[in-house]
């Protein structure tokens, strides 16, 4: 409506233009521009829906990340206070890798399950929704990795001879938190067993680029959590579409799985315990290799361990791609039914 000003107190709308236009059959395309409506919507080649969904995803993950970090800082502080006042008999320090597992898992699952409806109801395609989840998930994993590895590296490098805890894993500060599986990639080690059951071990100095390896291992773990969480969310959504019992069953399974994965089982055990005893066994070797530890026995009683970080990285990337693909397959058929029952 060219030149027409509409205010909230305007009871009589001057619609002469509109009438004349309608009467003359003129296209009303110009009307759209007249009310300050934004029509340009391509940003970096992304459609408006794409950009908005990605931003929303990053915002949701960002909030979760922030809360997670705050809680983590609080836990570390609590741990440091405990160390100050109690000596001996304390449990292990905070395992940061295990800490982030449920957070990333649930964040990815929650997004996948709960934010789908709003997206689709605003014109977002299913393809974009999953793409945004993937991109946001990667960003979230990197953000967690950068913050955790940087903080851990500060702790490690400030550990001096005489103030650090010397153990099987080398000399470094173990408190208030550590990254047990990732830190192993800072070193290589050698274990020799002597006659009579005694053994001695030695560690190489910190490898050049060790921090990068640590970062990559940690990142691969985070990516794996995000990947599994995303699929979990898609499965929960599918179960929910089958009715309330589906949700209950799915949640039960999810809790069970989380418990299993979180407890001291295959993934979390300090494998080095079993390793020495079963030196050379194939199954043991596979488990070790899967997490990046390649162990060689050059001679009887001597073990050389090297950490090969590209193995877990490759595994994680494959897992991530696979999970995203499965999620897409499931989401591509996901529908939003009206709240009323369908006939």
């Amino acid at each position: 409506m060219d030149g027409k000003v509409v205010t909230t107190n305007d009871n009589v709308r001057e619609s002469a233009h509109g009438t004349a236009n309608a009467a003359a059959g003129v296209s009303e395309a110009s009307v759209r521009g007249g009310r300050g409506m934004m029509r340009g919507d391509d940003f970096l080649g992304m459609s408006r829906q794409c950009r908005l969904t990605l931003v929303r995803n990053l915002a949701v993950y960002g909030v979760v990340l922030l809360l997670g970090l705050l809680l983590f800082v609080a836990l570390c502080y609590q741990r440091l206070q405990a160390l100050r006042y109690e000596t001996g008999g304390l449990s292990a320090s905070i395992d940061a890798e295990r800490y982030w597992f449920p957070i990333l898992l649930l964040a990815a699952a929650a997004w996948q399950w709960l934010f789908f409806d709003t997206a689709i109801c605003h014109g977002v395609s299913r393809r974009t929704f999953v793409k945004a989840s993937a991109i946001g998930g990667i960003v979230m994993a990197i953000a967690v990795s950068v913050s955790m590895v940087a903080a851990r590296y500060v702790l490690i490098s400030s550990g001096k001879e005489g103030t650090c805890f010397v153990g099987i894993r080398g000399c470094f500060l173990g408190e208030p938190f550590d990254l047990p599986r990732s830190e192993q990639f800072l070193y290589a080690w050698q274990r020799v067993s002597y006659t009579g059951g005694a053994s001695g071990s030695g560690f190489s100095p910190m490898l050049v680029g060790g921090v990068l390896f640590m970062f990559l291992k940690f990142l691969s773990l985070m990516l794996a959590y995000v990947a599994v969480g995303t699929v979990l969310g898609a499965v929960l959504a599918w179960a929910a579409s089958k009715g309330t019992w589906g949700v209950v069953a799915a949640l039960f399974v999810a809790c069970l799985a989380s418990q299993l994965l979180g407890s001291s089982s295959v993934l979390w055990t300090d494998e080095w315990l079993g390793r020495f005893a079963a030196a050379g066994a194939l199954g043991n070797w596979l488990v070790q290799a899967a997490s990046g530890r390649v162990i060689s026995h050059p001679s009887a009683g001597v073990e050389i361990g090297t950490y090969v970080v590209w193995i877990p990285v490759a595994e994680s990337l494959v897992l991530f791609a696979l999970c995203m693909w499965i999620t897409y397959l499931m989401t591509a058929r996901r529908e939003i039914h009206p709240a009323r029952q369908r006939a």
Binding site: T8, S15, R35, S47, Q49, C50, D117, P338, A339
Partner: protein, 313 residues
Amino acid sequence: MNANLTITDLSKRYGSTVALDGVNLTLRPAIHGLFGRNGAGKSTLLGVIANRLLPDGGAVELDGANVRENESAQSRIYLVNETLPFLLGARISTIFKREERYYGGFDWPFSARMLAAFGIEPGRAYGHLSLGQRMIVRLVAALCVPTDVLLLDEPVLGLDAVNRDLFYRFLLESYGERPRIIVISTHIIDEIAHIVERAAIIDHGRIIDAFDAESVGSRATVLTGESACVGSFVEDCGLQVISRETMGRLATVIVRGPVEAADLPSGIAASALGLQDYVIRVTSGAVGPDMPDISDHQEAGDETGAVSSSKGE
């Protein structure tokens, strides 16, 4: 405004139930009424157009582009039904801002005027509103986004008579300002009979009639008279019967198409059906071979009221 929404052979089933059975429909900028019984497929059809439901066959095209999983097409389509993609805790203004972001614009003055007319304060939280008020807020948003296609699935369910009237007023005002494709699916047909320009009737997943609303009088004729007399007249003229009722010797037969007053023998009276009555009559029978599948004809065929498939049936 030259948008064109074409639905071709759309079909969808839920397990063994057929929701849409080869729907063909063309929609141009106008207010369209979509009528049919519960479970006829209205909500499913609208859901498929809005990419919320996925069809098993056929296609929906907006200006030639398939709308399925197509974001640029979907940003021009807006559906209001009972799904609530709004966070209950959000304020109304927040909700409107979100719609503005996703659809590239929002008519704020118009929305303020509508909320005032409906007596809803814009600062209130969506979750604190009654069900009827929530629907009103969603309808206000629907009228204020600059989309080319507006789909309203049972928009006035839960609104009292005054609010319904107000809504129709604002709907017509919005359409008058900016003509676009508006589809209203409703059971309250009488109220909307003058408001819609085109009517489409869907039954058992198929479009059984589509016509200009004002020419509903020529879609069917009610013949009343002595039973045998009416019966023979119907047979002689080869008229297609929609329904038949007898009360003693008096029969009321509803046939398809118009009947010229001049052709009527004495003793038989003819009258026309209003839109609601016509929809009731034509959807209350069982589906079968006598119910032709009518592909939508835009201009010519409908003006004369002739039913396109009368040749074959």
